[in-house]
Amino acid sequence: MIFLNAMNIKKITNRAQFSSSKIKGFTLLETLIATGIASVVITSALSIVATIYFSQKKVQFSHDFFAENRFLIERITQVARNNTIDYDRYFVEMGPPTNVCNNFATAQVPNGASFDNTKENRALLGYPTVFYWDTNSDGIQDRNLGGMELNGINADDCTRAMGNTFDYDAGGVLPEEPIRDLYLINAGQSMRVQISHAIAPELKVTMNRQLGADTDGDGKADTWGPTDTNGDGDIEANDLDIDIAWSGAECQLFVNSNSDGDFNDANEVFPVMGDATTESWCDQVHLTQDISPVALQVEDLDFRVAPLFDPYLAFRNDVAQVHPMVFVNLNSSLRNPDRYGFDATNIPTINFETAASSRVFGNIRR
């Protein structure tokens, strides 16, 4: 067997020797040229494949980027639809611009010492108060002017809850006070939502939910401004305060039912839904959450709110008779673009605008 194989090899070797005498091999030059051409072809083919691959990747990342932006704007509009504009909070935080409302009229507010248009005074007054006018000088404020001045003819600019946003019709000038925070309140007046554009430590969008809001810093949630509980036509201490807080391991809701200013009486403390040890409800309602996807660097987030007045308080003001809505303008870019193959001069950015009309109908100040 081994012998046979050796014979065969010998035969093959002989044949190879024989054929080599007739057929010419490649010269070095030919080999070099062939290798050169082949390498050019292979290189270009590879570069085409690489281009296709990376452009396909870019398309995919761009698509993901759009999807992330859509998610964010969807999240914001969803919250805006399920709630309505929180005019009370806007009035305190922004208030009417001082160039149209320097101070609140004496006949407009009860028993105050100073009525200058400052944040402190606005927090003290509360939004519904500025709709009151003592029309017959009997020392009692009433609300039948519905957002008009004492003469009943001109719209009262001091009843504006916020400044103008952007006056596009004047050629895009007058960026008076861009609205960076969206304040919303639900139909049951029990939950307030704040959507904000956070600058530091990184550009993102946050959402803060609160049961009530503590604008005067007394540690208790504010009410809807003065309420004439005993019907004497005068404004006294607020009749309802609520708060939610941890009490040991239990999350509790505190309600000042009898208006004595404390939560110490019967039927004023209630456990909040869920098991406090497993559900972080108490934390959730006070905590600020990031709602923008991590892949997004939110460069700018602006809101335009219409109308600038609460239409149900300013019921005689024609301009205010618009169903509450908000425009959301989102400008974002891709965070860590180099990770996705985009260089610094070619970072994907997108500008989204959409409108969200509140699905809460009717006056929620029942």
Partner: protein, 253 residues
Amino acid sequence: MIFKFIGSLKLNSGRKVRGDTILEVVFATAILSTVMIATFTILQRAIDTNLNVKNRVIALNIAREGMEAVRNIRDTNWLKYSGDRRKKWICLDQETDKNACVGNPIATKFINGNNEAAPAYYTVDFHQADERFYLKRATLQADIDFLNGAQTEASRAPSRLYITPGVPKRFTHVATGNTPTPFYRQVYLDIENPYDGALTPAVDGFCGAGDTDDSCQNSRLKVIVRTYWEEESRQRSVTLEAHLYDFFERDEY
């Protein structure tokens, strides 16, 4: 060096080495070009898809804004005409006639002060000073067509959207001082009666037995918002369709 090289080639060809036939060359070229064409087609497709995805997202948001505007006009009518909701819920105040719906507009037609019958095409734009949307009736093409030369740009112009300068930017139909975009938006409105005439007009006191207003008889508004744009010589559009009901504090609808 080069001459030497050419000489060596000549020497080789002179030595009875067979060249490629024309058929072989044609086949090779065909294969090469097929591969190249396929490659570039894929590349072009990827770029086109990227552009299309981007435009589609923008167009969809433009259409959504239009839908939201019509909804807001209905909601505003519920608010502004709270004492006469059943008749005025679909009434359209105009930018030029801000109180077109004040008073008691005559029956039979509903859309605006001109008693225009639905269905009709509108443009919708936000009016900053009045802080509200206005639906504007204009002579519009029923269906925007960029190709075939069937429509002139002038006939499409009322539907065209422009973008405002400054930050934030905003889409508007106002051309002056703004940058044109490739997008066109139209709103189609039609009023319907989901009960096919069976709804009694005497609903919750607002509409009486003798009221023949369309808005009393019919409680459903069909809204179609369509955004058109031209992309790489192709006709593109995004369509949103919804039915808005006059349900607020209505006994039956």
